[in-house]
């Protein structure tokens, strides 16, 4: 039951093409600029040795990480927004990203390895999701209660993060700050690989198993149950899976804020299709992260990608609130 509406395919395909174009631009950017044509040639094995080294060894891992992180965040955001039936119900607003950040930061300050950091991020993200569900889930997962709980959780976790930042010595704090902002700088295959494995499992499950059910859930719990959807299992299962995906993305690149919020929103506006819109969201998410990374590189001095998505996301959220209010939906 995958949507094959022409409009959806067009939007998804267009976003993928745009993402590929920006990726090629990014691969050609740096101290040693390479023309887009040469980048494409090199990717297909036709470039000279120097270009092959720079593109394939130095720059490709970063771009692949950016694409995977974008897809992961967008998929998770789409599921969260669908389950909470709220365009604002994304994992960063709900505090799941902050939970992953606080746990990973603890490891950074304690001087742990990057494997420990990843494990901590995953545990922190999933743990936060469970706590939110425990506090707010009693009377259903949708509505603003859930989001307000997320805002409260985020405030508590930010307090803890601030404390951890003051505990480290200066070098560690700089490294921790950089990690906390979300960055693809220096990311290699060892960060991308675990995320790739998780996505290879999670995305088919979400698209094939959860997607159709979530679309029916949007008609209301009773109708969905009458149509044979296991409402509670579907909700809890897809939320937990999505939280795990976000946490792995945070482990790879740090908490890159707002992609999970924006990508599914844009997908929904463009495709005008019901349901979580998973596949077009994935493409738009990847376009957003790769594009934001390109912007971050070209901003004058090297800022991490999370600053770009944070600033764009804040502006977008203000705009969304204003339009939703005028439409009477909030």
């Amino acid at each position: 039951m995958i949507t094959t509406r022409p409009r959806t395919v067009l939007i998804g395909g267009g976003a993928l093409l745009a993402m590929a174009a920006v990726a090629v631009l990014t691969l050609g950017t740096g101290d040693f600029p390479i023309a887009p044509g040469d980048v494409v040639k090199t990717l297909f094995g036709q470039g000279d040795a120097a270009q092959a080294f720079i593109v394939n060894e130095l720059r490709l891992p970063r771009v692949i990480t950016a694409i995977l992180v974008g897809m992961a965040l967008a998929a998770a955001g789409a599921v969260f927004q669908s389950v909470t039936r709220n365009p604002l119900g994304s994992p960063d607003i709900l505090g799941i990203t902050s939970g992953a950040g606080a746990a990973a930061l603890t490891v950074v300050i304690l001087g742990g390895t990057s494997t420990q950091l990843s494990l901590a991020a995953v545990a922190g993200g999933i743990g936060t999701a469970l706590v939110i569900q425990l506090i707010g889930g009693r009377r259903g997962l949708h509505g603003y209660r859930f989001i307000l709980i997320g805002i409260g959780m985020t405030a508590i976790l930010n307090g803890i993060v601030g404390y951890l930042l003051t505990k480290g010595v200066q070098m560690e704090s700089a490294r921790a700050m950089l990690w906390l902002t979300g960055s693809f700088d220096g990311r290699g295959w060892e960060e991308a690989l675990p995320l790739l494995v998780v996505l290879a499992v999670a995305i088919p499950v979400l698209v094939l198993l959860c997607g159709p059910g979530l679309r029916m859930l949007e008609m209301g719990d009773d109708i969905a149950a009458a149509l044979g959807v296991p409402v509670k299992l579907l909700r809890n299962g897809s939320l937990l899976l999505a939280a795990a995906v976000v946490a792995f993305a945070a482990a790879a690149a740090g908490p890159v804020n707002f992609v999970a919020l924006i990508a599914p929103n844009i997908a929904k506006r463009l495709t005008r299709a019901p349901g979580p819109n998973l596949l077009p969201s994935l493409a738009i998410g990847a376009l957003l992260t790769v594009g934001a990374d390109w912007l971050a590189m070209h901003s004058g001095y090297p800022i991490p990608v999370g600053v770009v998505t944070g600033a764009l996301g804040g502006v977008y959220l203000v705009w969304l609130l204003t339009t939703e209010r005028k439409a009477g939906r909030i």
Binding site: L88, M153, A155, G159, G162, L317, I330
Partner: protein, 348 residues
């Protein structure tokens, strides 16, 4: 009575909060205020007493008044300014929270949650990184400007008079996220400013001195006077604009004055000790069951008890974090957060 007043004007499915219906007995309020003042005095003595060496109340007194006492210098140079700054800043944050909750009819309003402290932080970070300003006297003007811009913005984005608690909280979360991205970008661009600001951005009283105290007090005093002056018309405003006009109040002027007061209070407090969350949320909520919604009682209670929270949290942070310390902003976040979650959970 209180629960009715706190309902947002339209029923649109967003979260609305109610609290226990309380009809405080008239005699209890002055007595309670007296008790609160005594509690404040005790906490202030504790605030001065705690430190590398614990001073008994007698030693605190001697250190305060007797120049010959061995504790005179330590009390006057380190512990007194820190405690007094906690008093002034706590009062400012609590009062700002109370009048914002009244203005927006939003029980979740808090200068930290609504992004006002973040606005002040962003302006201070810019001043520190781009203009090399590193003192309170320089920071305070930037902090006030940042607080003013965000206060106006969050009110506008949240929908002004038709703001609901959820909408305002979301507008605040949006601004918070964007502004803190900016603050970290500025700090990352300049490692020296990370070192200068990483303690400040948590919210701490550790660097307090009499110079900062002297400079912060006029701004906060002005904010307090405005807040107290609008207490009565703000009460009338809770009945609706028309009723307020009938009672002789001018809604537009009152709203503008409240925003000016919030800006003065939050901007000065943030410049002095960094962004501190939840003091403005917590105290009015704890006080309201005693005072009821009448601001003429709510505000004085808040002014006495908010410093109790802040100075108390500072002492607690020194005890828990010993031999170092836990910044006061961390303690208030960890204490206040669960109460916020509870309030959301019990909401209708």
């Amino acid at each position: 009575m209180y629960a009715r007043q706190q309902d947002p004007p339209e029923a649109d499915g967003s979260a609305t909060l109610s609290t226990i219906d309380t009809r405080p007995s008239v005699a209890a309020r002055p007595v309670g205020l007296l008790v609160a003042v005594v509690v404040l005095a005790v906490v202030l003595v504790l605030g001065i007493g705690f430190g590398a060496r614990f001073l008994t109340p007698g030693e605190v007194w001697a250190g305060l008044v007797d120049p010959g006492s061995p504790f005179y210098r330590i009390v006057h140079e380190m512990r007194l300014p820190r405690t007094l700054l906690g008093l002034v800043v706590g009062l400012a944050l609590g009062l700002a929270g109370a009048i914002m909750q009244a203005l927006t009819r939003n029980p979740l309003a808090d200068p930290g949650l609504l992004g006002i402290n973040a606005g002040a932080s962003a302006a201070v970070a810019s001043a520190a990184a781009f203009l090399g300003i590193g003192t309170f006297a320089g920071w305070v003007w930037f902090a006030l400007a940042g607080a003013a811009v965000v206060t106006a913005l969050v009110y506008a984005v949240g929908g002004g008079r038709s703001a609901t608690p959820a909408r305002l909280a979301l507008a605040g979360a949006a601004l918070n996220a964007a502004l803190y991205s900016y603050v970290s970008a500025v700090m990352l661009a300049n490692t020296a400013s990370i070192e200068k600001m990483r303690f400040w951005t948590v919210g701490s009283l550790a660097s307090a001195d009499f110079g900062t105290l002297r400079q912060v007090t006029p701004f906060i005093l002005a904010g307090v006077l405005i807040a107290l002056a609008v207490a009565r018309p703000l009460n009338a405003l809770s009945l609706g604009d028309d009723a307020a006009r009938a009672l002789g109040a001018r809604p537009g002027v009152i709203r503008a004055l409240v925003i000016v007061a919030v800006t003065l209070l939050c901007g000065a407090a943030t410049a002095a000790c960094g962004p501190i969350v939840f003091v403005g949320l917590l105290i009015p909520h704890l006080v309201r069951p005693i005072t009821g919604p009448d601001l003429r009682w709510l505000l004085p209670y808040t002014m006495v008890l908010a410093p109790v929270l802040l100075v108390g949290a500072d002492v607690l942070g020194r005890v828990l974090g010993s031999p170092g310390e836990l910044q006061v902003g961390v303690v208030t976040a960890v204490l206040g957060g669960p109460l916020f979650l509870y309030l959301v959970r019990v909401a209708k």
